[in-house]
């Protein structure tokens, strides 16, 4: 039971971090209908900046710089590439983002080289004991920050001018433009927000219990794909649900892999994707996604 609770809490906190990544993914999709495969490199960029800057600036300033840097990278991708790509299908734009991702990831991993970079966070390896459960402080912070950010995000989406502009654009870009919404700014801000969220996610993916940022950190970003899809690509609530489902599935499957030996060792990695397939079989647009109505 203790093990179960511990795994569950861990799963939820990691899931919250996945939700942050998935949220960025969803925001970009809503604003520009582009499936953004550069997310892994945005994440790496944010983490890299924090790791490189914290000895000089201290952790908090470095974090701010990392968030700003990743947001800038996101914005630049939008401004220099996405906006200029005159292609008919969004599928091809998705492939462009794959190209950008290959470029950025290669360069960043080259910069990171063979090092394992610490991010200099203030929580280090502290743990909390909640009854019989032990959980890393970073995880609690991650859960808190993710919950706060997601709440703030949902509120902003609902109540700020930016949020209204974003939702209006997502629903009907041309009509939003008729209202005076500058679509370029909306999509630029979506990419920047996605970058910032990815940088914060990077922080929590690279601190204790993982030893630090290195070239393999991108692998974690892959988990955001099933999270975003199974929640529904165009739903912010979906991103949250998807992230949690993926995190909990992964944690439970890894934790109980001895009992689940018949599924093969290391099922934790594949499980989120299998869950995604099962959900897509029943709901092709994801749990909270909207089905598109054909117009002729």
């Amino acid at each position: 039971m203790t093990t179960f609770l511990e795994l569950l809490v861990n799963g939820i906190s990691v899931g919250a971090v996945y939700a942050l990544i998935a949220l960025g993914f969803v925001v970009i999709f809503k604003a520009t209908e582009v499936v953004n495969f550069t997310h892994a490199s945005l994440l790496l960029a944010g983490g890299f900046l924090v790791a490189k800057l914290h000895p000089a600036l201290g952790f908090w300033l470095a974090l701010a710089a990392g968030v700003a840097g990743a947001a800038l990278v996101g914005a630049l991708i939008e401004f220099l590439i996405i906006r200029r790509a005159r292609v008919g299908s969004h599928g091809v734009l998705a492939i462009v983002t794959i190209g950008v991702d290959i470029l950025l990831t290669t360069e960043l991993t080259r910069e990171i080289g063979t090092d394992v970079l610490a991010l200099g966070d203030p929580w280090r390896d502290q743990v909390l004991h909640l009854g019989p459960i032990t959980i890393a402080e970073t995880r609690i912070v991650a859960l808190g920050v993710a919950a706060a950010l997601i709440t703030a995000f949902l509120l902003a989406f609902k109540f700020t001018g930016w949020g209204v502009a974003m939702r209006a654009t997502a629903e009907d870009a041309e009509t939003a433009a008729l209202m005076g919404v500058r679509l370029g700014r909306v999509s630029l801000s979506a990419w920047a927000v996605a970058g910032a969220l990815a940088a914060i996610a990077a922080l929590f993916l690279c601190v204790f219990p993982t030893p630090g940022l290195d070239r393999s950190t991108t692998a974690a970003a892959m988990k955001a794909f099933p999270a975003a899809i199974l929640g529904g690509l165009d739903s912010t609530t979906g991103a949250l649900a998807g992230g949690l489902i993926v995190g909990v599935t992964e944690a439970l499957m890894s934790g109980y892999q001895s009992q689940l030996a018949f599924l093969g060792r290391g099922i934790g990695d594949a499980a989120p994707f299998l869950v995604m397939i099962v959900i897509l079989l029943f709901r092709p647009a994801g749990i909270f996604g909207t089905k598109e109505l054909a117009r002729v």
């Binding site: 795994l7 090092d115 390896d125 219990p209 993982t210 030893p211 070239r215 890894s254």
Partner: protein, 420 residues
């Protein structure tokens, strides 16, 4: 109709070209290994003035850190060897190919440099070497894999240096029972990578556990897994008294960090690939310094041997500011093994692949200046069964110091090593 005519013409052209092809090709059968002016029989990779050695390594993949240290150490070795006059009146030339831990690229690299190399003093990645095992054997190309899985044994051309992972783990379990109070009936966790590194190691721990009446609690992970919380939870739930670690440095750091933070205060014994001095800069450092041990066949760079101290000094002079880890002496001695084989082959006036290989396999007590003596005359057994026990140490060069000198445990002595 016109189409058919064109096709026929193309076909005719092709046949003509084919007929002409043989005349000018470099590939035309050139004959057997030649004998040079100095009476030394030469083979691929050897000319009158040079001996080419090929390095197939990982500089951009998951083992980039290992690959970098090994490659730089070997470049240093051959540079110094050349400065000292080379071997057999010839200078060494090193070709480096990076495969980024991609088997296809490794196969491509071997296809490219195999035919131009006299020996391969470094080949990273057991899946890559396994994939090429047959070809390496057919080519009789002396190859030193930088992986210590038992699956690499049993090939005459492939020389696994030192111990294999299973032997390290047997010696490690032995250490746990003798020094850390583990006794029959206790549970011992083993965290290992999928693949033959982890599985070789698991073989060893299972053997030792079987002999000593322990129970092994297995947790298998992938190289991409980063967070070991779930695994620690499982070990804790099983109430293990110690944990064996046959994973990468990152996973090891996460494991000990989480375990210690969660109040799981047990000794950890790692394979030689589970530790890297870079970890001492991460939050896991205190946990690593507390109760973590590394089993390895080669002496660490901090070992107080004259040869080692010279190597450390030379390396630091050549590569200032670069990480100095235990892979440096490993790479260095592998280069030395090749150099010795070439020198012996030179004495026998045969620098063909077969000549170098035969010379290599005639050595039964190779001693490279540091570490344990190795026996190269068998190829279905590890070259050594003695493991050092190291302990992480922040102050030491290379981040670790010898806790116990190399020794062969009784268990390891009688252990039948699985081959292939």
């Amino acid at each position: 109709m016109a189409k058919f005519g064109t096709r026929a013409r193309i076909a005719t052209l092709a046949v003509l070209a084919l007929a002409a092809a043989s005349c000018a090709s470099d590939k035309a059968v050139g004959g057997a290994p030649a004998t040079g002016g100095d009476g030394v029989k030469t083979g691929p990779g050897v000319t009158a003035t040079t001996i080419t050695v090929g390095v197939v390594t990982d500089l951009t993949g998951p083992y980039a850190s290992l690959g970098k240290s090994l490659t730089q150490a070997q470049q240093l070795y051959f540079e110094q060897a050349n400065a000292a006059g080379g071997a057999c009146g010839r200078k060494y030339e090193v070709i480096v190919r990076d495969h980024g831990y991609d088997t296809q690229k490794a196969v491509a690299a071997y296809t490219e440099i195999g035919p131009k190399s006299a020996a391969i003093p470094q080949f990273i990645g057991s899946p890559m070497v396994t994939a090429l095992k047959q070809r390496i054997d057919t080519d009789k190309l002396l190859t030193i894999p930088m992986a210590w899985a038992t699956s690499l044994l049993g090939s005459r051309a492939i020389q696994v240096t030192g111990t294999t992972y299973d032997i390290d783990m047997i010696n490690g379990v032995d250490f746990l029972t003798k020094e850390k109070g583990i006794k029959a009936g206790d549970k011992v966790g083993h965290l290992y990578f999928e693949g033959d590194y982890g599985e070789s190691a698991l073989n060893g721990s299972k053997y030792a556990a079987d002999k000593l009446g322990l129970e092994i609690v297995e947790q298998k992970i992938k190289a991409t897994d980063q967070d070991m919380s779930a695994q620690v939870a499982a070990f804790k739930a099983a109430k293990v008294k110690a944990v064996l670690v046959s994973v990468g440095p990152r996973q090891a750091a996460s494991l000990v960090g989480v375990a210690l933070a969660g109040g799981m205060d047990v000794p950890f014994v790692g394979s030689n690939s589970a530790y890297s001095p870079q970890l001492l800069g991460t939050p896991a450092a205190p946990a690593l310094l507390k109760d973590f041990y590394v089993m390895t066949a080669g002496a660490p760079v901090s070992a107080p041997m004259p040869a080692m101290q010279k190597l450390v000094a030379d390396y630091q002079a050549k590569y200032p500011g670069q990480t100095l880890d235990n892979a440096v002496p490993t790479g260095w001695s592998a280069a030395m093994i090749v150099d010795e084989a070439v020198k012996k082959a030179c004495a026998a006036k045969d620098l063909s692949h077969e000549g170098i290989l035969a010379a290599h396999r005639s050595q039964s007590t190779f001693e490279g200046g540091f570490g344990t003596p190795m026996d190269f005359t068998f190829f279905d057994k590890p070259a050594s069964r003695a493991s050092y026990i190291l302990k992480p140490d922040k102050a030491a060069v290379g981040g670790s110091v010898v806790l116990k000198e190399a020794a062969v445990s009784d268990l390891a002595k009688d252990y039948p090593v699985p081959v292939g």
